[in-house]
């Protein structure tokens, strides 16, 4: 029967969750369009879409967890999850690459070019220095300094990677206390990280005059750190789900890909931060 066992692959039955999800995205997109153009009922539509999306995730992922508990996922299905998660993270890497590319281009190509002799007639006083808000920006502003909160945040995220690995060791050795404590610490570090980020943004907006509209620096700073922060938030939420499931007794030393997937994601977010710290804050 061994060929049969290898052959067997769980195919889920009919499900309406995908349609709910696509409806949610339609609502969110229309809501966002209305909101940004100040027509119609933008905010309510956007929020309704978000609510439907959360409902979909709750239902869909709940179903996945139930299937996993029922033993529907064998080695082969597990393999699919691994491939799938890996490629998903790769797509995220490419998303960040677009913004890192923009930062690179602005620093290395467009700012030097705007300060070159070619543009001396239009922008006579513009100097090629970084950080820069561009030749048209009027007013004073400050760039973010690396050696304060950002450095601390680096430390926080790196330690959270360590606590997560420690939790994983706990899971593999079936030391459940180590698992839950490790997960809890990881979530905690992530939350503190986000707290600092929020504080930093508010400080930047109110005291440093560093805003989204602060030229190329403001644009790249906020979109890179913003999308990163968004990913940390998602990662922390996923970790909380994993923590909650661990407390309920899910996961065995052999069978716990949900844990590993979230861990991969968390380490990915960690690595993105290291790049951010070096090229956005430091250099």
């Amino acid at each position: 029967m061994s060929t049969h066992e290898e052959s067997y692959y769980y195919v889920p039955g009919p499900s309406a969750w995908p349609l709910v999800g696509s409806f949610a995205l339609l609502l969110m997109a229309s809501g966002a369009v209305m909101l940004m153009n100040k027509v119609g009922v933008g905010m309510p539509t956007l929020l309704a879409g978000l609510a439907v999306l959360l409902y979909m995730m709750y239902g869909w992922f709940g179903k996945v967890i139930a299937e996993s508990r029922a033993g529907a996922y064998n080695k082969r299905v597990d393999g699919s999850f691994r491939w799938g998660m890996g490629w998903f993270i790769f797509s995220e890497v490419m998303f960040f690459a677009a913004f890192f590319g923009a930062l690179f281009y602005i620093r290395v190509i467009s700012v030097p070019d705007l300060s070159s002799i070619d543009n001396a007639l239009i922008w006579p006083d513009f100097k090629n220095v970084w950080p820069s808000a561009g030749p048209g920006f009027k007013g004073d502003w400050d760039a973010m300094k690396p050696w304060g909160i950002p450095a601390l945040n680096t430390l926080l995220l790196l330690s959270s990677g360590a606590t997560l690995t420690w939790a994983h060791w706990g899971l593999m050795a079936n030391k459940r206390a180590q698992l839950t404590v490790g997960l809890f610490l990881t979530v905690l570090l992530g939350v503190i990280f986000m707290g600092f980020q929020v504080y930093e943004y508010s400080h930047a907006y109110h005291e440093m005059n560093l805003k989204l509209s602060t030229g190329g620096y403001g644009s790249t700073f906020y979109l890179l750190t913003g999308f990163h922060g968004f990913h940390v938030t998602l990662g922390a939420l996923m970790l909380m789900v994993i923590l909650f499931r661990s407390l309920k007794g899910d996961f065995t030393p052999e069978h716990h890909f949900a844990f590993e997937a979230v861990a991969w994601y968390w380490h990915f977010v960690d690595v993105v931060w290291l790049f951010l710290f070096v090229v956005v804050y430091w250099l």
Partner: protein
């Protein structure tokens, strides 16, 4: 369904999918079956093909004569933009995903795609995106009108239709990324025992490369349009010189996506053509391994040539030279493929059923498109050609006679497997010849228009371009109307027609021909062993 109740590890091994299926509309809404989803993709893409086609015919009607007759110039620009977006993202890409859904599991001996529910979501994301794109024509300010390449500063200035296009692209991107993750995972993880990578039919290989390209570049497009969105509404200055940004930055990011994208559009077609040519030559594909390497090489190289779209937007000469040589270099693996197809036919016992006709038409016309691409690749020449009808001719030779013809070849090739009936061969051949003739009538003359200097994306033109434009418009209507034959043929083939055997083509090879026609709802639940 012979193995529906095999018992594994004590519990029942049948798919959860074997339970009671909803019927009617709910069947299609909730399905996780790769064949259902494949069919939905194919129908959706054909519908979009008609929508985009009507836009093209409106464009061509306006261009029948110089001067402004039918549409306002703003609306003309919206039409060219939506036509491009809808054809690329709504018609061609979903068509090939439909083929992949139907055929990959059959070809590698898998019972379904790796992620059934996500597969359903990938499909059902398409209608909202299509809705956003099409309804954007009716909002204040109209649809996006900056061309499918969405260059700033135009995109920064336009109305809410632009935002709708941006979100539509985000949703389409999500859909194709999920679809591609599904495809890669299916190919890597669900192959039948003995089906090694180098035994896979070429269609699987081409989709493997395509899926990789999609996962690598769709997020980059998402990044680009996100920057457009924040520049529009949140005061960022990615594409504004006053803030230290640069509109050319958008072009770099866009084409870093855009050039791999044109290969995303054509590579699955390479796979289909390879299989069709070998079937109707009754010979194995010449140089299978070199075909695989050539596709992989094209995929990798496609990341290194993007700025050949930007020769006139300002670049150092050294960069122009680099992009020129790199672009020409892609002609090498492309040439390998063309020679291999030709060599496959060499001394084969050829027969010319409709799929073969489309495949041969593909080889001829795609080669023309490749050559005009090489002409455009020369920086010094392109300075004259950029944004003229020559470019329009080039990419329609690659995308219509390339991607679309290969899709037709695939559709006729696999229709018997899908429906259990033979299509009407006579009608199919008429469809091919009409398409072939009218296609050339529409687009060949555009080369001349471009060389003579007629700009693209313009509703009016100088008098001396009139003759060629009229020929092109007449051809376009012929081309458009011929497609109704295809629709008719497909519908009658679904409804009836001579019964198709499991293997309707004498020279065909591959696992898909081992299952009956029409392919039952569930196939390969016990994986075949490939020797």
């Amino acid at each position: 369904m012979n193995t529906a109740t095999t018992t594994v590890n004590g519990h029942s091994a049948d798919h959860e999918d074997h339970g009671h299926h909803p019927s009617g509309l709910m069947r299609w809404i909730t399905t996780t079956n790769h064949k259902d989803i494949g069919s939905m993709y194919l129908w959706f893409s054909f519908a979009m093909f008609l929508v985009g086609g009507c836009m093209a015919l409106t464009i061509r009607s306006e261009l029948f004569q110089p001067g402004l007759q039918l549409v306002r110039p703003e609306f003309f620009n919206q039409l060219t933009t939506l036509h491009g977006l809808i054809m690329v993202f709504g018609a061609i890409m979903p068509a090939f995903v439909g083929f992949a859904n139907w055929m990959l599991p059959l070809q590698i001996g898998a019972s379904d795609m790796a992620f059934g529910r996500m597969n359903n979501l990938s499909f059902w994301l398409l209608p909202p995106a299509a809705l956003l794109l099409t309804t954007s024509m009716f909002v204040p300010g109209g649809a996006a009108a900056a061309g499918w390449t969405l260059y700033p500063p135009l995109t920064i200035q336009q109305g809410m239709g632009m935002d709708m296009a941006i979100f539509a692209l985000h949703i389409l991107g999500l859909s194709s990324i999920m679809g591609s993750i599904n495809i890669i995972t299916t190919i890597f993880n669900l192959r039948a025992p003995g089906m090694t990578l180098m035994k896979m039919p070429l269609f699987c290989w081409t989709w493997l490369v395509t899926a990789f390209l999609i996962i690598a570049v769709m997020p980059v497009l998402a990044g680009a349009v996100t920057m457009t969105l924040t520049d529009r509404h949140f005061g960022t200055s990615f594409f504004s010189a006053a803030g230290g940004g640069d509109p050319v930055l958008f072009q770099h990011i866009f084409w870093f996506f855009g050039h791999p994208e044109v290969y995303i559009v054509i590579i699955p077609g390479f796979g289909i053509v390879s299989q069709v040519i070998s079937t109707f030559s009754r010979k194995p594909l010449f140089g299978y391994a070199s075909m695989v390497y050539a596709v992989a090489a094209i995929g990798i190289l496609s990341f290194t040539v993007w700025a050949h779209h930007m020769y006139t937007t300002g670049m150092p000469v050294t960069a122009q030279l680099y992009f020129m040589y790199a672009t020409m270099f892609i002609a090498v693996p492309t040439g390998v493929k063309i020679f291999n197809w030709t060599a496959t036919m060499w001394r084969g016992s050829l027969s010319f059923e409709t799929p073969m006709l489309f495949a041969i038409g593909f080889i001829f016309l795609f080669t023309v498109g490749g050559f005009s691409g090489l002409v455009l690749a020369m920086a010094a020449v392109d300075v004259q050609m950029q944004d003229t009808y020559y470019v329009v001719a080039h990419f329609h030779y690659t995308m219509v006679a390339g991607a679309l013809f290969s899709a037709f070849a695939g559709a006729y090739y696999w229709l018997p497997k899908w429906t259990g009936h033979m299509y009407n061969e006579k009608l199919g051949q008429v469809h091919f010849w009409l398409s072939f003739i009218f296609f050339n009538m529409t687009f060949f003359v555009q080369h001349f228009l471009g060389i003579a200097g007629m700009p693209r994306r313009i509703p009016d033109y100088a008098l001396q371009f009139t003759d060629f434009n009229q020929i092109s418009t007449v051809g376009a209507f012929g081309l458009g109307l011929s497609q109704l034959l295809f629709l008719y043929n497909v519908i009658t083939c679904i409804k009836g027609g001579p019964k198709a055997p499991a293997k309707p083509w004498e020279g065909a090879e591959g696992l898909e021909w081992d299952v009956p026609s029409p392919a039952p709802y569930h196939t390969w639940e016990v994986q075949p062993v490939v020797k």
